[in-house]
């Protein structure tokens, strides 16, 4: 669990705590997806193609991170849970692991939302120790888990070697990096390293390390992909974090976006109205998608195929909301990502 405010996080002492930390990691990785999806869906069809592609690629990698965490958790007999009532944060929310320095909202694609994305993906200082209070960066959080893995799982204790619960590239695709089959501590640490490398980048570089691990083309770490959008310019292969992007212009049309009211809630609309129904339908679709992902992460990887269709459905429902005015303010409704019980 995240450290208590004011205290240095205590070391992870047993397998139960390790499972809990990894479950938190799953929730942290997931918590950025709804805001990224909101920004992505808000971009009108055919506009901001470059920016949309960058955001899409980040979302795909966040999904990969969830799968990597699930593979680690499953390798040591954990049980990934994506359907409990608090799995999806109530936006606006703090990032789960964080030192509460900023709030993340469900917002349309805008300079403000991209600025938040930059804060989410901000690289840590190389080798900085975990500070007092909570983790300042995701990297620190994963450092803590890796240490716990090494301490608790000495000589690969607890590793079950069950291949059936490992998700591999048969079922996950479409983003930088591949799922890693986890069967020992080294695999597990490698999988967690991919997460931090893709998010923050490898030391003093703008790239994410995929070319080193997966022999793929060089890709930018998430932070630098958002930096390209914020600055309206691409990085070149020679650029560094210090130099900033010096490549060709990346055109951004901040107006080519549905004007979604931030942090929408189903409760804004009178019960039974068209918008209320549509908003609820969206939440149900998201619930169902998470349920399929959970099945996929618990020994039924073929359920991930259905999840792909679920992602399309989700987009259609979100865009339908974003096209509908929510009141007279000139703003539109949007997807609220609220919890809906399984039986509704």
């Amino acid at each position: 669990m995240p450290a208590e405010p004011g205290k240095i996080p205590a070391p992870i002492r047993n397998i139960r705590e390790l499972h809990a930390h990894l479950q938190t990691a799953l929730e942290v990785e997931h918590s950025t997806i709804p805001p990224y999806l909101c920004a992505l869906y808000s971009i009108k069809d055919g506009l901001n193609l470059e920016a949309a592609e960058l955001i899409r690629s980040v979302v795909m990698e966040e999904m990969l991170h969830m799968i990597l965490v699930a593979n680690v958790l499953n390798a040591i007999d954990g049980k990934p849970n994506l359907t409990h009532a608090k799995f999806v944060p109530h936006y606006p929310a703090y990032l789960r692991h964080s030192n509460r320095a900023f709030v993340i909202s469900l917002e349309k694609f805008s300079p403000t939302s991209v600025d938040t994305f930059l804060k989410i993906e901000r690289p840590g200082k190389a080798g900085a120790p975990v500070e007092r209070g909570e983790y300042a960066t995701l990297g620190q959080f994963y450092q803590h888990i890796k240490k716990g893995l090494k301490d608790v799982c000495k000589a690969n204790k607890y590793f079950n070697g069950k291949a059936s619960k490992q998700i591999t590239s048969e079922y996950y695709y479409g983003g930088g990096g591949d799922p890693i089959r986890v069967s020992n501590v080294d695999d597990a640490c490698g999988a967690l390293d991919v997460i931090t490398d893709q998010g923050e980048g490898i030391r003093n570089s703008i790239t994410d390390g995929d070319h080193q691990i997966f022999h793929q083309g060089k890709e930018l770490a998430h932070y630098f992909r958002f930096k390209e959008i914020a600055l309206g310019r691409y990085y070149t292969g020679k650029d560094t974090p210090k130099s900033g992007p010096t490549g060709t212009a990346l055109p951004v049309d901040w107006n080519g976006v549905y004007n979604m009211r931030p942090n929408p809630k189903t409760g804004y609309y009178p019960q039974g109205t068209d918008l209320w129904v549509k908003s609820r339908q969206f939440c149900r679709a998201y619930r169902d998608l998470l349920a399929r992902l959970e099945d996929g992460m618990n020994g039924q990887p073929e359920r991930l195929i259905a999840a792909v269709a679920g992602m399309y459905d989700l987009k259609y429902k979100a865009v339908a909301l974003m096209k509908t005015p929510c009141d007279d303010s000139g703003m539109t409704a949007g997807p609220s990502f609220e919890y809906v019980p399984p039986n509704e």
């Binding site: 055919g46 193609l49 592609e53 690629s57 795909m60 590239s169 048969e170 079922y171 695709y173 479409g174 983003g175 930088g176 792909v308 269709a309 399309y312």
Partner: protein, 601 residues
């Protein structure tokens, strides 16, 4: 007129055409460190993300979404379009499009002249031919024998399936004598079959139909279609996605516009192979229209390919590219045209002849009320009824493959647009919720079967050239003489009888009706049909075992010119009952091997 050799360079191999055949050859030869030049008549637009996207946008805007609708026609390298098919009156050619059609019937298919060629708008079906398809003459007394057998081609089928990235399960594909190597598996698992496929197969598997003229009944057998389309990879294979962004198109998404354009390039196209060629050894020159194969009259050897460029940076006059070996891989009709224009390969007199296509007899019906079968979902076809691909009946009439169409009545009736027009165009228009309900009810129950009749080789079905008909660059337009033999026509009522039994068995209402005003309307014994072209264009420069009856030998080299090879479906002596691209790709790997041997000699 021969042009100047622009670069002064002599390549190992000069290839005309950057479609799938040219791409495979360039990859094979470039990997062996041979210097290759490809001359492509069309533009390279498809090769960039923006260019490919512009094709998509053109397609979305097009009112008639025909195969060439995304791909702009360039007057300097014009291409045929099925929208130009018109009725041909005796003695009056139909010449409104690129083709000059002399009839008596219209040739009903097209192709794309652009980098990547017609694979940009193919469906992606990758069937192997049956062993008997290679021996039509000795087995059934029809058509021709091939100079090679199924077993000889089998290793090259495997190479072609790997290159294209075919999704299929071997166990589904063993029928009519088709065999696979031990432990062979396709690169990816089979593409899921549609709900309609399961609906029909569960009601009709082993249902025996009565076939006119045949004593015993024939059982229906359904098999999944092998497709050049990404699905779940088998161990060791990595799917190839969009050529501009490999993260996209890693799996088929069911966009259902495979023909004419896959938005994500989950479907194979030749651009994927072209992206893999070694750029240090392979040069692709676009907007370079070959006009003549230069031949030394004494030795009969080819000395160069003369071509003209167009657009920005075009050379003022003709240029000539030089190599040690030359390959024409420009599509059956374009290759025949270029050979004719160059007076090449004249010994047999077969250049341009034996033009063949699959003759599509479409039948359509509505599933029983309350039984929506989910039309308009998934790739165009995911299951074949393969019972009629081979059998004794081929001595009397065409054999045929029968794909189940997943896209409602779109091919037969232009659904769903025509359904909408029907409802709102009535004197009492159907509107609002009622319109939505009725459209859903009708469209979701639409089904088509495509009876793809094998056309037999006929010397009179041919591509010719005529100095009267040229394009804006002065190159010849293809003049096409075309008709359907009784061998093909005889199969039409047979197909119809079979489809009637199928529809009756499942309780579907048959709506098939062939309008006699259709330009492709034909009759057999007073029964009328219309046909569509499958785009499976073969035969125009066929291979054979002697120089007097064929244009190329079993090695794919022309009989008349030692250093000239031909690649493409034009080399196929017969069409068989499979879509020809996979077989052509296999033959092209074989040709590449032969060219390498000759270069290394």
């Amino acid at each position: 007129m021969e042009g100047k050799n622009d670069s002064g360079k002599t390549y190992d191999v000069v290839i005309v055409g950057a479609g799938i055949a040219g791409a495979i050859l360039a990859k094979v030869l470039g990997n062996a460190k041979k210097h290759v030049l490809i001359l492509e008549a069309g533009r390279s637009t498809s090769f960039t993300v923006e260019g490919y996207r512009s094709f998509l946008e053109t397609f979305y805007r097009a009112s008639a979404k025909v195969p060439n609708s995304p791909y702009p026609n360039d007057p300097s390298a014009p291409q045929p379009d099925v929208l130009n098919i018109g009725r041909i009156e005796p003695g009056v050619p139909s010449a409104s499009g690129y083709f000059v059609q002399r009839g008596p019937l219209p040739f009903a298919s097209d192709y794309a002249r652009t980098r990547g060629g017609t694979t940009l708008h193919w469906l992606g079906t990758c069937l192997r031919m049956t062993p008997n398809d290679f021996h039509m003459k000795s087995r059934y007394g029809q058509g021709e024998n091939w100079p090679i057998t199924y077993d000889e081609l089998r290793p090259y089928y495997e190479q072609a399936e790997l290159e294209i990235g075919v999704s299929a399960d071997v166990d589904d594909q063993r029928f009519h004598g088709i065999t696979f190597g031990k432990n062979y598996h396709y690169p990816m698992r089979r593409i899921p079959q549609s709900y309609l496929d399961h609906y029909l197969a569960s009601r009709l598997e082993d249902f025996a139909v009565n076939m006119p003229g045949q004593a015993e009944r024939i059982k229906l057998h359904f098999s999944s279609i092998p497709q050049g389309r990404n699905s779940i990879p088998n161990a060791g294979y990595r799917p190839v996605g969009h050529t501009g962004d490999n993260n996209i198109g890693q799996r088929c998404e069911g966009n259902s516009s495979c023909v004419p354009i896959c938005p994500v390039q989950a479907k194979y196209n030749a651009l994927k192979t072209l992206k893999k060629v070694d750029p240090d050894y392979v040069e692709i020159r676009s907007q370079a229209v070959a006009s003549k194969i230069e031949i030394d009259p004494d030795s009969g050897r080819v000395t160069g390919i003369t071509y003209n460029t167009y657009g920005a940076g075009a050379a003022p006059g003709p240029l000539t590219a030089r190599g040690k070996i030359y390959v024409i891989a420009a599509h059956s009709i374009e290759t025949a045209k270029l050979l004719l224009a160059s007076q090449a390969c004249r010994t047999s007199g077969e250049v341009g002849r034996n033009l063949m296509d699959h003759i599509e007899i479409i039948v359509w019906a509505l599933a029983p009320e309350g039984d929506p079968i989910g039309a308009f979902r998934g790739p165009g076809a995911t299951t074949n009824i393969n019972s009629f691909r081979d059998g004794a009946f081929r001595a009397r009439h065409s054999g045929f493959n029968v794909p189940i169409g997943n896209w409602g009545w779109s091919w037969s009736c232009f659904s769903p647009g025509s359904d909408l027009m029907d409802f709102i165009g009535r004197s009492q228009p159907v509107l609002g919720r009622d319109l939505r309900r009725r459209l859903y009810d009708r469209v979701s129950r639409q089904m088509e079967l495509w009876f793809e009749l094998e056309q037999n080789p006929c010397a009179t079905n041919r591509v010719t050239i005529d100095p009267e008909y040229r394009d804006s660059m002065g190159n010849f337009r293809p003049v096409i003489h075309y008709g359907l033999s009784d061998y093909v026509r005889k199969a039409m009522p047979v197909a119809r009888r079979i489809s009637e039994q199928i529809f009756r068995r499942i309780g579907a209402k048959d709506y098939t009706h062939y309008n006699s005003t259709d330009p492709c309307y034909v009759t057999y014994r007073n029964q009328g049909f219309f046909y569509r072209g499958a785009g499976h264009v073969v035969g125009t420069h066929r291979m054979g075992s002697n120089r007097f009856e064929s244009v190329v030998n079993d090695k794919q080299r022309t009989w008349d010119h030692d250093n000239l090879y031909l690649a493409g479906c034009g080399n196929m002596p017969t069409l068989g009952t499979s879509n020809p691209t996979l077989t052509m790709a296999a033959l092209t790997f074989w040709a590449g091997e032969n060219i390498l041997k000759e270069l290394n000699r």
